[in-house]
Symmetry: C3
Subunit: 486 residues, 3 copies
């Protein structure tokens, strides 16, 4: 019956039931093949070569998660941004203030708001991951909504107390073969050191992320350069010393297990400056004189310099382009970075990367993995670049596009030109540790279904498809990121 005046959204109540065939095509022939391919890899170890899990979790064997809200809601801008977009204030959701001031602290009440608004995530990857995670990791079997919020909260809180939920135990239960974190160039990697020294044999490796010392227009750049000097043990008084310091830190990260670096910029602009020009810009920046153009030139130049270093030290280079960070100044000023206000922009690779590629694109020692938020570049620029240059590989669909449809669009637009073997498998790219299995599972299902679609259309034979599902789920990530066997 049509409910004419039900302006409010009603929420259905029921049991969670994860379909064993979820995310597969409804066509019976395709579904059967998808299921077989998925069965091949559903229990394969997880390779996590790019992500943002806090290594502190593993440094302390008895790490405490805090409340369910602290673990699952407050740190996850994928989630709270959606409630913000519908008019909930960040204060009311317990998001901490940048200045450390007080925010609402009734975590059970925040959880209730979250649950009442969980219908907002219908059809979204966040909705899919969380539904899987609640069921499989925490054993919740009620549908998550306003009616069940309290029970679910109590249930999770009780689980988190159990020894088998300690991070190291979950890491083992999840069958994570390697987990890469993302760490500032100036980080001393103390948590990583503690993990190594603890005798626990979970493999957690750092990733070298130098944005804070490369982007001279950041407000905290001077401070970061100070830290860099301290940690290197010499003053960063010149561009030359800056380059030495970068090499020095890379070498340290490598010793600590890193196999890769990670770089972010608004655009993939690259340019080669003379050493003198670079020195001039650097000196002026040290004295606080910066401008937008010089910042762009310096970043564009450093990208090429960092590429040179990767050629030399063998660290895989990741490059993420196209996010306009902190687009909302009110949210940024009050709540700081990473609050769901990063908005993609149109991105150009063909012209922008040319100076870098002219120099290193043909060097087979280099692995440069490109990520984009501008899907128009998949078929137009990235797949043709990766299908020609020996140095280029394509990262998986990133951020907003790490989703059921996003993965399908990526495969649809990338594979025919770049082929499967110029891509690097899956990244979960998450801060949310307990969501890792759900993310890999979704990706494996989408890959199995995509391959099944090729088999049923006579594009691949089933033997090839069986090879490829192992490549996509496990082997390509391991190979591309130089994850040697344990």
């Amino acid at each position: 019956m049509f409910m004419k005046d039900a302006a409010q959204i009603k929420i259905n109540v029921g049991k969670i039931s994860l379909s064993p065939d979820r995310y597969f095509s409804p066509d019976p022939a395709q579904r059967e093949i998808a299921r077989e391919l998925y069965d091949e890899v559903k229990d394969a170890p997880l390779v996590c070569p790019h992500g943002h899990v806090d290594p502190a979790m593993f440094a302390d064997e008895n790490y405490q998660y805090g409340t369910p809200t602290e673990l699952l809601f407050i740190p996850d801008h994928y989630i709270f941004r959606m409630l913000y977009s519908q008019g909930h204030t960040l204060e009311s959701l317990g998001i901490p203030l940048a200045d450390g001031g007080e925010v609402k602290r009734n975590h059970r009440k925040i959880w209730q708001i979250f649950a009442e608004n969980f219908y907002l995530f219908r059809g979204t990857p966040t909705g899919m991951w969380l539904t899987h995670e609640l069921a499989d990791v925490f054993g919740v079997n009620e549908k998550f909504n306003g009616d069940t919020a309290g029970d679910v909260y109590d249930h999770i809180a009780a689980q988190l107390e159990k020894p088998e939920f300690r991070p190291r135990r979950l890491f083992e239960k999840f069958k994570i073969e390697v987990l890469a974190t993302t760490d500032a160039a100036t980080d001393a990697l103390d948590h990583h050191r503690k993990i190594r020294e603890s005798g626990w044999n979970g493999r957690i490796v750092p990733t070298f992320r130098p944005d804070g010392i490369i982007n001279i227009d950041r407000p905290d750049w001077g401070e970061n350069i100070g830290k860099l000097g301290e940690i290197c043990g010499f003053e960063i008084s010149s561009y030359k010393k800056f380059i030495n310091a970068l090499e020095n830190r890379r070498s340290f990260f490598k010793e600590m297990g890193a196999t890769a670096t990670d770089h972010a910029a608004l655009t993939p602009f690259t340019v080669e400056l003379s050493e003198q020009r670079a020195e001039d810009i650097f000196q002026r920046a040290l004295q606080g004189e910066k401008n937008e153009i010089e910042a762009k030139l310096f970043t564009g130049h450093l990208l090429i310099e960092m590429t040179r270093m990767s050629v030399e030290d063998g660290l895989v280079m990741q490059f993420h382009a196209g996010s306009y960070r902190n687009h909302n100044p009110q949210v940024y000023q009050k709540f700081g970075l990473d609050k769901g206000a990063d908005i993609p922009t149109a991105t150009e690779f063909t012209h922008n990367l040319k100076p870098l590629l002219d120099k290193f694109g043909n060097d087979a020692r280099l692995t440069l993995i490109l990520f984009t938020l501008d899907e128009t570049t998949y078929s137009r620029e990235l797949a043709p670049l990766a299908g020609h240059y020996p140095a280029i590989k394509l990262g998986p669909p990133w951020w907003f596009h790490d989703s059921l449809n996003g993965m399908r669009r990526y495969r649809d637009q990338v594979m025919e030109t770049a082929g499967i073997y110029n891509t690097v498998g899956f990244n979960d790219d998450t801060r949310a540790f307990p969501s890792i299995p759900a993310r890999h599972d979704l990706a494996r299902r989408v890959d199995a279904d995509w391959l099944a679609g090729l088999v049923v259309r006579g594009v691949l034979d089933s033997g090839d498809a069986q090879e490829v599902i192992h490549d996509l789920s496990y082997r390509l990530a391991r190979k591309s990121y130089k994850i040697a066997a344990n």
Copy 2:
């Protein structure tokens, strides 16, 4: 048999048969669910919050449509542009000249040309709508082509004479709950007044469209400012008075039932000018001194001003960007506006809207509905913006993209990031009154099939899908456009 030298296109003859399962996936499992979901809403009232139907139709109880050609062909640039693209002159199709000069007047002959060329619309939304409309509204049961043209013409002409085909009767038959027209800021809304005073209780509301007085580079701007002064009762001699006049007119539109405004621009460029700068530009424009840059600045500034007014008076703000109007100067000079020669351009929201959003993006009192003709912005810019800013909602796929595939691309690219509840349901956006049911029916079918696809893939359970089909077909439009209960 292969017809080697049949260079001409032959047209098939037969009965129209609208499949009850049209536009649904062929997969039996998905189709069954789609049918159930569609059944939920197929008879729901139509909410029409954005369109271009002439209110004169309803002001006069005995309104005469003219010939079938005058009703269904001549005013519809979606249709005649296609014949023009294949070499038919607009003169031969009876399109009126801008200067009021004579054009071909044999409407039966024009209708015959239309019918002979109806094969051009195979697979197009226009073809789908018209096929539905002929069958369901006019009771035509022959396939429309050169052989049946005359019979169909006579049949429609006879129907149009019947009392039950008067606009008000069709409005009721179509179960239109509310129909918004689009009206110039300087319009006295006489037709709307007559409708209200007639005692008929069909709800037809105006929408405030100020383009003619905001875009100072329009040739008719001075004239429009004159009209604005007349209708407001004071001379628009300053920017300040101009702003007063805008507020004055908005208030009048609101009294007359408007719940929304509508704005169009080539780009979403916004900028905040000082009051002095705005005044200077305005004064020069009054004296006929205009240039492209100042026109862009003034429009960009006024967009922010109109946003402020929406925050204050509560009118929902619609913004349509990216159409290069009157791209064909020969057609424009001879036949005027809206002749199928509006061509989309690449559009940028992330940077362009920032000044407006910095000011009002976090204000939950504002509803700013964005429309685009550049589908690349769906996943890259619009969905992330709507998934963060409380003020932003996304309009349905617009114009060329208001189609079977266009809607699928929109859902595919928008929903995972913005969620369903940052979109505003369907707009029919049409001048063609009798096509309204066909347009809503197509949208409801596409939505039902999309949701069925989610159910059959285990993304939504059927209870949620049942909720959502009501939201997409009816509730979201009603809520977003502040259509209070009748």
Copy 3:
């Protein structure tokens, strides 16, 4: 079982089996209709109005292909670029040096490398075409890989010796109705002349491609102008004489059977210069004074001039925009043009083509066929332009997008706005003569499946679909390119 340490890719061995239903939807209802539609056209003659086959093949009745590697691998940059992207040097693959220096000549060994790496083409159009070609043209029935490489090589080599494999015999076997080559404006068309004089009645026609004499910034421009003067019999000492020479050559090409011209540029920028301005730029260019801006202006102006000539002489005008040629300077310097290093760029038509369209867009004598590598322009610019301007038609998906998914995206994004009849059917656009049937077959299958999808969703009736499959496979190409009946 999951193979944890199988880092290498294993290759499956087995018989090739081309599914008779390949590339069709798995849905049984859709598949059945697709099969019926495909049966209608699977044996229809091939119309090849745009491609790069060497006419020398047909000038000599006893033309020798060379080794399988020389025929199928070395000239095909679609293929060797993929091996290059994975770290194989072009030298090791036998690609000839630009300076004529020695390269590896063991063609059997190169073939072995190709076969071992054929897994790289899983899911790519190159993989699909070659698999079809090996089976259907050469009668290979083993799966192509490292194990079978030698046998396949010997088998093909033996086939190539047979009289029935001579190019003219294959041309007839393939049922090619017409094959257009692409020829420089300064080409004397000697091969075409020999073919005509040989008495063989295969129809092979030239296409006029003037890029070498229009783009004044090419290093070989001066040389090309010299050749142009020689072949025309007068010195090209002025812009006026240059225009005369162009008209002169077009007329010669037309006599030799050409029905079309072909133009390429990085962007679709057009502009109308005064005759004096054009003369000035031309004179400076003759003296070696060129700059980027003048080169762009001159090309943009000449595009309009060439359009005028097409209006006058009736040659169909093709325009390919958006490829950044020779993006990799190391590859270009060592190996020259067309080595898989052409990378697409974002392309803009709405503004750029306006000066040309203002002048000739409404002229029904003109057929201007547009091609793009930027798929975002399909729905945003190209379909709306083709759906309005009488002169514009859309070419099929080009280059990287001439693929299973590429064709689906094209139909999805173009057809609803432009309609089927503003497109021009299929182009195989290939240098690889033996791959022609595979390319047409793939396109016909994709079209049949697309139409079947419309039938099964109630968008087209089966009679219309039957008409359209003939249009898409044969009639539209023939009509659009003015291929008169044999």
